[in-house]
Structure formats: C-alpha cells, structure tokens
Symmetry: C2
Subunit: 333 residues, 2 copies
C-alpha cells in the first residue's frame, strides 16, 4: 500500500498538518515506459512553500486535491523499461508519497559514488549545487578580487555560493541569522566576513566589510536586507535573484526601495531558475563531485524521518533554524 | 552681468522658488582652453528634480550654495579656444544662469540643420533621443513581433521609445496619464494601444492589450504600475529601467512587489544611463535626424521663458502636465 499526501487547503503563513489529507491507497502498476518508484529522500527546498500558494510561479501552483509535488531520490521497485532496472536509483519528482508511478523519460539515473551519500545527489550535487554554481558563474559573472554578498548564506545554496566564490578568487561576505551560522560561514566556508541580520546593524556592517562596495549580490531572501545591499552596489554590478524566501509565506517582501540604484549604477538584476541549466548538469556535477571528494566543499545535510515530519521541516527552514540542506527520509534505503 | 541661480535648500515635494538664491554677478573671463557661454535653452528632464535630493544618484547630489546644475544649448560669446569660435553653438552643462564659463574639453559643438530647431539637439536628437534609442535597442533587445510596454509613454523619452519600437516591428503599448495623452500616443505615435493610468483599470487593460504577455518593458516611473506590468512579463523578458520618476520628489516608489516574477520568468531588470552610450552619439543622432527630417518621428517641445519659469516647469513635469520635452528659453537666440 502507498501512503499519499495531498494538499487540500493553501496555508497562510506556516504549513499546517491540516492543510493536507493523508490516505493509504493501493500501489499503482507501471505500464510500458513506466516504473514504480519507492521514494527514499524528499528534499525540502524553501521554494516548496511557494508552490503551495494560489499564484503560479516558475511552476504552476500546486493543484488542491492532487498529490503534493516533491523532488525525490527514489529507487526502482518495478520496471517496464530495461534502461531503469529494479534497484536503480533515480532523481524524480516523486511527490509526498511512499511510492510513485513515473515515466522513465522524466527520470535521471544516479550512479552514486561510494563515498557520497545518495541524498547528496539531490543536494550539493543536485539542485542546490547547480543553483549555486550556475547562478554565480552565469548570472553574477565573477571577476577575481571583486566583492560578492550572499544572503541566506548559511543555507543549502548560499553556503555553496560562498565557497565557490572563494574558489573563484572573490571577496565573499555572507548574511545569515545568528552568531552560530555566521561563525560557521567564516570558519568552515571561508567567507571573508559574515553579517548576522538578526543582531547586527546590517548597514554598518556592510559598510565595514565591503569598503570597496558590492560588485555581485546573490539574493535568496528579498526584503529590507536586499535593499541595504543594493544601496551599496558598484557601477555595473550583477545581482543574481535566486529567490525571495521572505515572501514565500505571503505578506510583503518588497525589495524595491533601492531599485533606483540599478539606474545609478547601471546594474543588472536577473532572475534565474536552475532548471534552465540542465544542459550543464553533468559538467557541473563532475566539478562539484571533485570538490566534495577532495574535501574542499563543505556541506551540511539534515534529515528528518517520515513524511509526517515534512510540514515541520518546512517550517524550521522558514524560521531559519536549519543547517544546510533539509531532507525527509521517506522510506529506508 | 550674469543672473545666477543657486540651490540653497533641498525641496521636499515640489520645487519652490524659495529653495534658490538668485544673484546678479559680474561676467567671468575665460582663460586658455575656456569659453564664455551664453545659455540659450535649459532642458528640464525629470531627473533634474532627483539631483536636488541629498543622496548621490548617477551624479553627485547637487551641492547647496553652488550654481544649480543644468543641461543647456549655449552659444560661445568669448573664446580662448580656436576650435570653439564666437557664435558657435554647443551642448554644455551650462547650469541655471545666463552665462557660464566652460572648459571646451567638456563641450560638444552643434552644427544645426536648417530645418531643425536648436533646442532639439538637446531633446529628440540629444539626451532624450539617445536615451530612447539606446535603452530600447541595447537593454530591451527587441525582436520583431514582440510586445513592448512603455511607461510615461507620452513623455519626451517615452514617446520616442514608442515610435522607435514601432519602427522595429514591435507591438507597442503605452501607459500615460489622461485621455488626451493616450489619444496622442495611438494617433500620432502609432502605439497599438494606450492605457490611461489615471482613469483605467490598468491591470485589466494590460491583460486586454497584451494578450501574449509582455516581452519588454521600458520603465520610467516605478511604483504600482511598474509592478502590474512586471506581473505580466514573459519568459526571458527584458526590462530597461530608465528612471523611477514617481520617487524623485521623495516618498515611497517601491516597485518591488513583483520582483519575484523576475525569477519565475528568468527575466532581467537592467538600469542604464544615457551617458554610457556617448560613443554611439553620432550614429544615433544621424539615424534620428533622418527620421526627424522625413517626418516619421513625432516629437513635441514646450518652451517657457526665462530662468524664473524653471521651478514651475519642473513642477508641471512632475505633475505630468507637460507634452513632450520641456525647455526654458534662458536668453534669446
């Protein structure tokens, strides 16, 4: 039998268990070109909260009554496609459920390295790593010696951006919530400085840590901190807009009060989505794998157990209580 | 003697006569490499109001007590540089005064066409035309058949953007204030549609006039209309941020509530300043001159008389009561 979570009402603010129906249903049977997957890990990206809102975003709004959308690492349990034999690991959109029927055309096989955990293929070597690497290299167009400011810098994407930025010869300043995260950014991720937005005078700290201004901004959050950074950009600055998580639960996350500085500084604010870079996935994954294996790319993964834990995992992430990438262990590997 | 206007206090809201001191001073004498200019026309761009605020923008904030900065068409009255003989017309930063001392290295000579008024070399063939042409071609990167939305579309820059957009094969929708301007946009400038932001339901009209979404946005205003347009951009849209005039008098002009759509649509918002395109000035001026002479580029110029009229000319512009480019006749040609 399959345990299936469906979104039945749209949360306002934090996600609540009551926004979902959970049912136990018969296992589906794969047809030709299909497989039955067992979901192992569900990744919990900040954007998952965004999908639950009524408005379409870069994906259509999650349909009420449908299985909640989710990005998974899964294993093939029954196969009607010889290219995806039973036991093969895959990247899938497996959803919030224990088992999923999938067309193999939509799957990528994972051949995990023995020294790298399976979940990491959805994290540091997957969406998170790709987002960090492609956003930084393609949208920010870094030049050695320039200054990069990263928001949500201790998060799963931000912490990789900081480290890749250092590898590319940048001065890197991270903004994160709380002294522990800030300390970790400097100590473990090699950031040149960290700003605790919950306790520091962010404007004063930006002035102190970016004496030559800001050439690149990797923006994950939106809101007033985004404005404070944008107010300090240099001529020709590049701002990669990866997300605006401060607004995902609803409410006002306007970051527009400093937009005029884009004119003053002839600067570019560009939104991007990692799925537009899938043609570079192998190249980027190879490079990141090398850094993971030689120990030069630090990443943190947090796991919670069972789909029941997913709403709270999302809320911890929204409150900034996570460290690194959040995963839910859906079923045992 | 020279009549000189100095900014002595920074206006909040509209400009007031009391924000200036006016004095009558002896004429300066040019040294080597200098000329004494008589200012003929002072152009009144929306951004002049911005310069009066305390914050630096793309130019340093106007210094209190100094001659108010101003962009002029001027004539050489005394010369210490044979390349700029007496009687030569020049583009200058002549300021709010009747006469100005200038280094000739900072001047461009104008050789006016007999069928084109002198002031136009600061308007349709000058900053305004360059801004429209370079912003549209370089920042919006138009492709024939795509949809362009222009704000402040009946203004000096916007009306040229609309017309150049039509020449480049675009579907052009202009946003302007009042039925007269909207009528003029469609009738005289060839816009495919016009939206009266003062009287129309802007969102509904955008949906009606841009059934295929918005590929390019030429933004002069900021504020809530900017957001309504940004909410309708297509994948890969390009937004040229020329100015945010709604905020020049102070107050809140945030346009950030729709920023997340830059991510959803992988779109680019880029600020630009015409002065970065001076290397293209001759090429663009030649092209615009051709269109002006063959009658295919419509432009409107309004003149007021004497420096005394400048504050009110600025306020009329800020209230959107102008038609086309505003000039002050500083002294008789």
């Amino acid at each position: 039998m399959n345990t299936v979570w469906r979104l039945t009402s749209r949360p306002h603010g934090p996600v609540r268990r009551e926004d979902f129906s959970v049912s136990v249903e018969p296992l589906p049977t794969p047809g030709p070109g299909q497989v039955l997957l067992r979901n192992l890990y569900l990744i919990v990206p900040a954007s998952m909260r965004l999908w639950m809102n009524a408005e379409d975003t870069y994906l259509p709004a999650q349909r009420l009554g449908a299985v909640m959308r989710g990005i998974t690492v899964s294993v093939v349990e029954q196969s009607e496609d010889p290219a995806f034999p039973v036991g093969a690991y895959v990247n899938a959109m497996g959803g919030w459920q224990e088992y999923a029927l999938a067309k193999t055309a939509h799957l990528q096989r994972i051949t995990p390295h023995p020294d790298i955990g399976l979940a990491s293929y959805r994290g540091v070597l997957g969406l998170q790593g790709m987002t960090a690497y492609c956003g930084l290299t393609d949208v920010c167009r870094p030049e050695p010696g320039q200054t990069l400011v990263v928001t949500a810098a201790a998060g799963s994407v931000g912490s990789l951006v900081c480290q890749i930025g250092k590898k590319l010869g940048l001065r890197v300043i991270g903004v994160a919530g709380g002294p522990a995260k800030c300390d970790w950014l400097v100590r473990a991720c090699g950031a040149d400085g960290a700003i605790d937005y919950k306790n520091d005078d962010v404007a004063a700290r930006l002035d102190e840590l970016c004496p030559d201004g800001v050439d690149m901004q990797f923006e994950n959050v939106g809101g007033p901190v985004m404005d404070l950074i944008m107010a300090r950009i240099n001529r020709g600055a590049r701002i990669a807009l990866c997300g605006m998580v401060s607004g995902y639960q609803g409410g006002d996350n306007a970051g527009g009060h400093a937009l005029m500085n884009l004119v003053n500084q002839r600067a570019t604010l560009r939104g991007f989505i990692v799925s537009d870079y899938l043609h570079r996935a192998q190249e980027v994954c190879d490079r990141l794998t090398e850094w993971v294996l030689d120990g030069s790319l630090v990443y943190t993964e947090e796991f919670s157990d069972g789909l029941d834990s997913t709403p709270e995992a999302m809320n911890r992430l929204a409150r900034g209580e996570n460290r690194g990438t959040q995963f839910v262990r859906v079923s045992p590997v």
